[in-house]
């Protein structure tokens, strides 16, 4: 979108795989925090599949955007589509969504870090250090960040293989995965649909980065594969935790994925879960850096900045993120009602942005096509 330093684009040859990896990482942000504690009944596994299909629909609309000629033109494309004021309104509206996502993710992961890794450190430090690291990462510029996603994937994908022994425990029984349909005494929790859908949200932010992912006609193929991989990962972890804990014990565990990591034994490391959390923070810091760049870009759109991007500007937006997150963590994050409030807010915000943003862009394109033809 911009032409200088942080937001420049040099090469023309990009691969659809960047979009694939980015989508997958954006969708897998929430798994450690919220799932699978919410999906305690085995029939909820179908919820994941159904919501995956719904998410596929959103990605289909998103791919229409990529197939159009607008992304390749960067900022000019957006201007043609929405007009100058339209862009400002979009940036203004997207800032709170971004900040909410950033704060929620930072504070939740700081919670996990504090619970398992450094119990005697204040949670605030666990928020400040990752954001500082992500600002450093963001200073490399958007183009390098997009390319970096392959390294992130390589650094994360081995975690999946660690969880395979949970399927092979001799004390597992297939009865833990029954009943397959919801006939039980508890009413069906419709909120879980919303939760899974908001966990699968995230690819709509690719609209903002589409200048660096060179648009291709076949983007839908890559997005579908990424969606399928995310749904598969969620299913994998949910089935592993259901087999390991059973649906009665599972609701009492706070962070099942990490606790399962603790159960693993190795002759070299005592606390495998610390390694898991640290490896996972790699992905979180990367995504926070991406969001920092987006926040900076959005705030530049709002202002009248015609001069080039500067490192100072990025650091300032990083500081804004830190302040926002720290204030939420310090004053508004009591466990219980306040925490569930943020979770619900994030659920609604994530789901609505995932559903509405691609639709909005699509309508704009259709309207433009109608007015020009």
């Amino acid at each position: 979108m911009r032409a200088i330093s942080l937001f420049r684009k040099t090469s023309q040859q990009e691969s659809g795989f960047y979009a694939l990896f980015l989508t997958n990482r954006l969708q897998m942000l929430h798994y450690m925090i919220v799932m699978p504690t919410v999906l305690v009944q085995p029939y909820m596994l179908w919820v994941i599949v159904v919501v995956g299909i719904l998410s596929q629909f959103c990605l289909y609309i998103l791919s229409k955007w990529f197939a159009s000629p607008y992304p390749a033109q960067g900022c000019q494309g957006f201007e043609k589509l929405f007009g100058k004021t339209g862009i400002k309104i979009l940036a203004l509206v997207s800032l709170p969504f971004l900040m909410l996502k950033i704060s929620f993710i930072s504070v939740s992961y700081a919670d996990i870090m504090q619970h398992f890794v450094f119990p005697s450190m204040d949670r605030e430090w666990h928020i400040v250090f990752p954001i500082i690291l992500s600002c450093y990462l963001a200073l490399f510029g958007m183009e390098n960040m997009v390319r970096f996603v392959t390294i992130v994937i390589i650094g994360i994908i081995w975690i999946l293989f660690l969880y395979i022994p949970f399927f092979l425990l001799p004390s597992n029984s297939i009865h833990d995965l029954y009943p397959l349909v919801p006939i039980g005494p508890e009413p069906f929790a419709w909120k879980s649909l919303l939760l899974v859908f908001s966990s699968l949200s995230g690819p709509e932010y690719l609209i903002a980065i589409s200048y660096w992912l060179s648009p291709q006609r076949k983007m839908l193929k890559y997005l579908t594969i990424a969606n399928a991989i995310s749904v598969g990962e969620y299913l994998f972890f949910s089935i592993a935790s259901l087999l390991f804990y059973g649906s009665n014990y599972l609701p009492t565990i706070k962070y099942p994925s990490v606790e399962m990591g603790r159960y693993l034994q190795s002759p070299i490391f005592e606390r495998v879960d610390i390694i898991l959390i640290s490896a996972y923070m790699f992905s979180i810091i990367y995504l926070l850096a991406l969001f920092a760049l987006m926040v900076y870009g959005a705030s530049r759109l709002l202002g009248k900045a015609k001069k080039g991007t500067s490192r100072l500007g990025l650091i300032v937006s990083g500081c804004a993120m830190v302040t926002c997150t720290l204030s939420i963590s310090k004053w508004f994050w009591e466990p219980g009602i306040e925490q569930t409030f943020w979770l619900e807010l994030q659920m609604w915000a994530g789901s609505s942005s995932y559903l509405l943003l691609p639709l909005l862009v699509w309508f704009a394109m259709k309207r433009k096509a109608r007015t020009t033809s």
Partner: protein, 332 residues
């Protein structure tokens, strides 16, 4: 720094004092070549013990490496929930903690092993780890996670191994059966070995049947359980494959006829024993063999604990054992 902390390997908990407090003991210092000591405290809350130990010993005692938790039988009969909950809340304590019920005077047993070269706590831990890995059905090994999973599951009950401390020996007695979190029964000796067979196809190395003067070796049992749909009867078929390892010297198997007769005798004996074991469980309304798990079907509502208890206590049980044994010597 390392000289300032002491990671302890086990806690031993005993109740039964008049003022309602519990006694908690541990052995220090573990794994180093010094004369060892048993530290004992009387506390009302477990973590009071965790902290109190620091005040009576020169190093700080860290509970993060705890591997064993010995609970006295009397305390187990009153309910283990409060103890387990305390252990669960500490994020440093791993879920692979082995739980053991002890009878007799465990402190006295410890007092006899305070020599420098004796690392009894470490050897006890290695013993449990060995038998957990080997799974030869010699002792029941249950860790905290397995106990909690069985505790929470609707239709099954947990079990734990029982050891008796006699003088300077710690002897394996059997398996303790629980009703929710209270210990209600104990099965010993032969019954214990047979129940090991029933619980998920374990491999039992030696099954000694002194009444019949025979030892079966390398037993692998495949159990098939079938419940009728109205939950009125259960039929268990056990296919046992193994060898006759030892026979009383006076009886010899000389031809096929005697061999079949012996096989049938052993089959009847095992059937009776399994039936007796299950009747005992029915009478106590507990279900450690997780037979209730068979009632969960893919497309129907899971049953509640009360319904299952009602059906289980009045269920008819048919046991059929089929033996495939290799004889000791060649049979004509």
């Amino acid at each position: 720094m390392i000289e300032e902390i002491t990671p302890i390997i086990f806690w031993s908990v005993k109740g039964g004092r008049e003022d309602g407090k519990i006694t908690i003991s541990t052995l220090v210092p573990p794994l180093s070549k010094e004369k060892k000591r048993v530290l004992t405290l009387n506390v009302s809350l477990l973590n009071e013990g965790n902290k109190g130990f620091n005040l009576i010993y020169h190093n700080e005692l860290k509970a993060g490496q705890i591997r064993l938790l010995f609970v006295d039988e009397a305390y187990a009969k009153r309910g283990l929930t409060s103890l387990i909950n305390t252990v669960l809340t500490d994020p440093n304590i791993s879920k692979r903690l082995f739980l053991v019920i002890t009878k007799g005077n465990f402190d006295e047993f410890l007092a006899k092993h305070l020599d420098e070269k004796d690392s009894i706590d470490f050897y006890l831990y290695r013993m449990f780890k060995h038998y957990e890995k080997k799974k030869q059905g010699e002792i029941t090994v249950v860790n905290l996670h397995q106990f909690m999973k069985m505790l929470y599951s609707q239709v099954s009950d947990p079990q734990l191994p029982v050891f008796r401390a006699e003088g300077e020996q710690l002897l394996y007695e059997g398996t303790a059966l629980f009703d929710w979190d209270r210990m209600v029964a104990e099965i010993r000796g032969q019954d214990d070995q047979i129940s090991q067979l029933l619980y998920r196809d374990r491999f039992v190395r030696y099954l000694v049947l002194p009444d019949l003067s025979v030892t079966l070796g390398h037993i692998r049992a495949h159990t098939r359980k079938k419940l009728t749909s109205d939950l009125s009867s259960l039929s268990i078929e056990i296919d046992v494959k193994g060898r006759i390892d030892e026979l009383d010297s006076l009886t010899r198997i000389e031809d096929n006829f005697q061999y079949v007769a012996l096989t049938q005798k052993i089959e009847r004996y095992l059937e009776e024993n399994v039936f007796h074991l299950l009747s005992q469980m029915q009478h106590l309304r507990i279900d450690p063999l997780q037979i209730g798990g068979l009632t969960i079907k893919p497309f129907s509502r899971p049953i509640t604990r009360d319904t299952w208890d009602r059906h289980w206590s009045t269920m008819k049980i048919n046991v059929k054992v089929r033996l495939h044994l290799e004889p000791l010597t060649k049979v004509k």
